[in-house]
Structures are given as structure tokens and as C-alpha cells.
Symmetry: C2
Subunit: 427 residues, 2 copies
Amino acid sequence: MTINIGLVGTGTVGGGCIDILQKHHDAFERHLGIDVQLARVCSLSPDEAEAHGVGHLFTSDYREIVNDPNIDIVIELIGGTTIAKGVVLEALQAGKNVVTANKALMATFGEEVMDAVKAVGTELAFGASVGGGIPIIGPLKHSLIANEIESVMGIVNGTTNYMLTRMAEDGMSYDEALAEAQAKGFAEANPSADVDGFDAAAKIAILASIAFNSRVTIDDVYTKGISSITTTDLAAADEMGYVVKLMAIAHRLDNGIDVRVHPTMIPKGHQMANVNGVFNAIYVVGDFVGETMFFGEGAGAGAAASAVMGDVLEVARHIDMGYKPLPACSCTDDLKILPIEDLSMKYYIRFSVSDKLGVLATMADTFARHNVSVFSMVQRGAVVDGVVDVIYVTHTARESDIREAVDEIKSMNDILHADPSIIRVEE
Amino acid sequence: MTINIGLVGTGTVGGGCIDILQKHHDAFERHLGIDVQLARVCSLSPDEAEAHGVGHLFTSDYREIVNDPNIDIVIELIGGTTIAKGVVLEALQAGKNVVTANKALMATFGEEVMDAVKAVGTELAFGASVGGGIPIIGPLKHSLIANEIESVMGIVNGTTNYMLTRMAEDGMSYDEALAEAQAKGFAEANPSADVDGFDAAAKIAILASIAFNSRVTIDDVYTKGISSITTTDLAAADEMGYVVKLMAIAHRLDNGIDVRVHPTMIPKGHQMANVNGVFNAIYVVGDFVGETMFFGEGAGAGAAASAVMGDVLEVARHIDMGYKPLPACSCTDDLKILPIEDLSMKYYIRFSVSDKLGVLATMADTFARHNVSVFSMVQRGAVVDGVVDVIYVTHTARESDIREAVDEIKSMNDILHADPSIIRVEE
């Protein structure tokens, strides 16, 4: 059987998909009995199509792809939630199967897209939207489905993981690490989606929706990026036996689910602590399987194209076998998303305080009045110009209590000399 | 739709499957729309069935399950290649779908089983045969299918990994580590399948068959266990920046495939080096995805049952949707399996030699005449009673050359005082 592909987007990942098809077309035919053909490509740049040797398939109008009756599967790789949304919805409405790597679209308009899939009865696959080439959506939807998933925790943004690795291992400042990441092409000129955590937030929204069978959108995710992380905090974490990672976290709790992205201290002995540089990893705990982890390259042409083309071949096999699609949406439950203020965890808090009598007693009293129990308190480094760093690690405390205590300390005269650094701790 | 399950084997993993069904029956119905019912259980022990509250479903004759027209899926969990083979083949011949965790059966009689599946047109799933609960067969058959897989390397036997971890971290001898593993229930009274590498060999045969689309049986796998590993070698490896793991390795080379199990030195910086205790991990390199790793519990009731029931639910969905099965066998290619003698790699070799003039020159000459280039040579520890340990690490050398050189040194008078320790090195 011949399956015709229409590719929308010929950038890094799209180019990787063309490379895979050119290199492995014959292997796919031999292994699967399917002749997978690239029938049409669309992008803003005919040069990109030319550069991959598919200039003769080029069109600048995606409607020529979504309305082409010969095309079986449309791949959407332009990203974003405006034109890409049109491509995906119009392709579905034209009866196409769709493969997309678009995390923003799925995390923002997932329900609308799923409703369109259901109405049309074709198949939508989005395995490349999280974790680059790491198989994670497939395992969550298939191999691990006999579990109640308790936790999903991911290092899902390679840019920030690269930056934090360079800061921790080589003592770079945040600005230096960002400049290097930009120079190497790991970070965009406007790095906000990465460093402010929005990319990770989209990904954990998708993972949580699948893991908990309950819709989570990007707007449901408490999100804090890494721009306030300093080398001082990374060094202090190291001394305490921890590393700091931008973690995307989703937990199932008794009264709902907890979904968030923020810099997180994790013990060096944890399997995730050794995930460095641009690598990604997703850690999943199920009630029967226990701990599992999925590791690999989270970005890059090859890894993401591997995931996209894995989806394409899966859909192609389904078409070949005459399968009607499994229900696209797995959100059969409706779990409450808990606000971060109501969560309880441990906290690292570094204050730059005046080195004078009574300050520590005042702070201890403030924590106590807000029900925050202190596990450890250490002065770090020397007193400079009457100011010294004091680091608190709390026992499990309620986020709202921590915020109130810290706000109260911040409001006091002559105690703090800089905004405190607060990093949440996962054991 | 109701799907009826017949379970053959009510030991650790079978018990875990019953637990999952009892705990999650309602969630499966809500999420998948399928009422999964345990209809019959068979084992040698009615007490095990009673203990799990399913004594009323018990039969001691598996034929009552495979011939029961109400049963849709038969789960085979008795292991081994005698009765289990009968259960699987008779169930298939009776038109049942089969889920099995039986690595020995699949690695030994995989072709015969696959032929039976094809002849009958039902579905066979064996995701639990490798890696316990770690999703690895699913990703290799689906998410990663757009890649040419270059390497699969696994720590796939928890017993030996536990023992090597205890020996390396706590200085236990092999015998002490084995005794502890047996006391904790990680090793059998007869530990041969684990410590001699046969369990790992079955697993890499299965993984290689899928990864390379070419049949590999357990008899094709060069297999060496851990019984000759000493704390001396583990300490020497540590000093050199390596750890020793029982690795199951499969590489695609230009002229065929290389499949083997043996103790292996890997650099401490490698992601697999931190996989300790009873955990398993499988590292996969694909031409587009790059490096990926899958980590988790390789054994235990919950993990293995998670994989078995994941397969059961997958098959149940296929029945519910009216899918005809995908081809069970993915061995469309016929790649040559290279004998280990023809492979080239690096070697660690520790000799206990006489501390006298001329010995090192003789050994150097022997290596050189056999085309073995030495990367480093160090004397380790003190001379005791005229004997001292000398450790060689070679550049990449041919296995047959290494064997000839070592045999020649062994045959010389008055040089060696013990059998040399040889550990292969993967970078």
C-alpha cells in the first residue's frame, strides 16, 4: 500500500523527517509492507525544500496539502497556535490523519482539536510534542496503562537544563550561560518560552492529561522559570547534596492533581540528578510498575523527527490494516487541579540579612507564627559590609504559609538586603 | 464489551495481575470502555488462588482454560519451555489471544510461536519478557520504528546487578553477595540462570530480534556470567574511572550483528553506570533519535504484572475495536550473527605474575606478535610472595587475537600464578 504524506513546515524537524524518509523508505517498505511517499511539502521557504531535494513538491499554500485528495497524513511542524491551528483543524475537517509536534497547540487547544478528531473519525498523533525523540506518550498510553500513575516529573526543556548544567559545573552566571546557549543555537533570541518555563508548562500539561486521564491546559500549570537562579544557590545546593533542575511536575494527590513547573532541588542520588546538558528525562511512578525513567535527546532535528516519523508510520500501519482510530482523547476523568498555595512541600530559602543581634530570632518567630517548621539554618560565607547569607531549609510546609512568612520578613525594616531566593525541594 | 481472561500461573507475577485487576477494574472500564474479567485461573497451587480471593475460579488443568470458549485472552506465567510451550501453542491453536512474560520460550522457540500466531491470526504479546515493567518492546516496535537501531545495551538482570553493586560499593565477595541475594529472595537456590548470564541472554535475543528485524535466538548469544568477577577487579575498575556491569549488548555492524552477554567495564560518566541494585535499564541508540535510555524495576510482582496487564489491555482494546493483529513477527531481514572471535573491542586483563626480570618484556612481546596494542599497563598493589598484579588495558583488538595472546602467556612456565581476569570494555 502507498501512503502519501503532506508535510507543512520544512525547518529543522521537517528537514529531519525528509531525511528519514529518504534514508529509510526502502526499509519501511520491507519491514511494514508500506510505501511511504512524501507527496507535497509546504513552508515559507522554497529554499529549505530545495535544500532537501524536494523543491518539486513545494507549495507555499498549506491548503493545497490539506485539500489534496491523494494525501493520507498531514504533518504539521510550523508550531504556534495561530496558523498551525488552522492547518491541523482544516486537515482534520478534510478527513486527513494528522501528526503534529505542536506542544503549544495541544496544551492550549487540546480539547478543541480532540473534538475535531472525534467528529471526523480520523487519527491524530502528537508523540513528538513532549521529550523530543524520547518515547513517553506511547508508553503512557499503552505499556503503562494498567497503572494508576502517581507522579510524572520531567526535565523537559533542554535549553534550561544546558544552562543550569553550565552554571552548576562551570560556575557561569545566568547571563553567561544564556549567551552561550544562544550562541550554540540552543536558545532563541527571545528566550522567554524556555527560561520562563512556558515550554515545560505546555509539556507537563500534555503529560498530566494523559497520565491522569483528566484535561490539564497550559493555563492550569503554575510556572516559574530559572531567571532568578544564581550560582550562589547552585553552590549551596551542591554543598547540601542537591542539584537544581527546572522540573515539570505532576502528582496525583488525594484531593486532586498538582501540576507545576519551577526550579527544584533534587537529591544527587536521584536518577534525574544526572540528566545534564541538553538531555531530557521523564520520570514516571505508577502504583504497580514503581519507578521508571525515560531518557534521551529532547530536541534536535533527528530526535524530534524520529518521534514524528514514528507517529507517521504508526498511523500508516493503522490505515493499511483498516483500523478505526482508538479514541483520541483519554480525558475520561475530571480531576480538580489544586492551586499551588494549597500544596505542601519543603523549601530552600536564602536571605541576605543584616548581621545584627535579633535578626535571626525575629525570623525564627515569623516562621513559627506561620506554621513553618525549620529543618536547618546555616550562615553561608562571610559577613560583607554587615550583610550575610542565611539559608533555611524547611520541613514540609504549606506554600501559602511560606509566602506569608517571607512577605512578612520582606516587609520588616532593615533586615533583608536583597530579594530572598526560594527553591522548592522534592525528595 | 466484556473481555474474559484466563490466567495460567498464580505465582508472584500472576498474583500481581490479579491484584491489578481487582484494584483497577473500574478504572479500566471508565477509561477504555472495557469490562475486563478474570474468568479462570490455573496453577499447581489452589492455595495461591485462594490467597488472592479467586479460589472459585481455580482449575488445576490448563486445558480447561485454553479450551473455554468464553475466554478471549490467555495469560501464560508459568515460565520455562516445556509445559508453558504447550499452554501457549494450545491456546493459540484454540484461537485465543495470548499474553506471556516467558523470555526463555520467546528466545528459544520464538519462530515456532510466531508461526502459530500467524497461522491462527490471533494476537500474541510478550512485553513483560524483557525489563520487567520497563516499557521497551512497545517503544522498539512503535515510537522508535523510524530509526535504524544501531545498538541496544541492557542491564537486564536485577540479581546480578544487585550482587555487583554490593561487591563494588560494600566490598562484598562474590559468595557473600550471592548469599545475600538468595536470602533476600533476589536469587534462586540454583542461581545459574542469573549469574551465568542465561536470563540476560534470552532477553537480549528478544530485544535484538525486534531492534534489528532479524531473528536472534538464545543459542546465538555469546554468554559469560559474573562468577569470575572479584572485588580486586571492581576496585581496579573504580580507580580507572569505570564500573563493571553484566551487560547484554547488541550492535549492528557493517557485516552483521553482534549479540552477547558478559561483564563489561563502562565509564562512570555513562548514563548506565548509575543503574544500581535491582534496577534495570536498557540503552538504545538509533540513527535519528540518538541515545535513549529506559530505566525501572526489572523484576518484582508489581513491575512485571504492570507489563503483563499493559499487554492484556492493549489486546483487549484491539478485540474491542475489531482490529486484525499487526504481523506478530518483525523479523523481515536475515542478518548474519558475527562470532565473538571476529569482534574487536577494548580489554581489561589482570595477570598475577611472578615479580622477576623479563616477565613484562615477554608479555609485551606476546601481545605485539598477536597484534594487540597496549593502551596502559600498571602494576597494582604490592608484591606478595614474589607475585604481583599487573593490569593491561588494550586498544581496540580482535577477540581471537586477545585469546591467542592470553593462551600463549598462560602456557609459559613460571609467569602466571592464577588465571587472568579478562573484562571487555565498552566506551
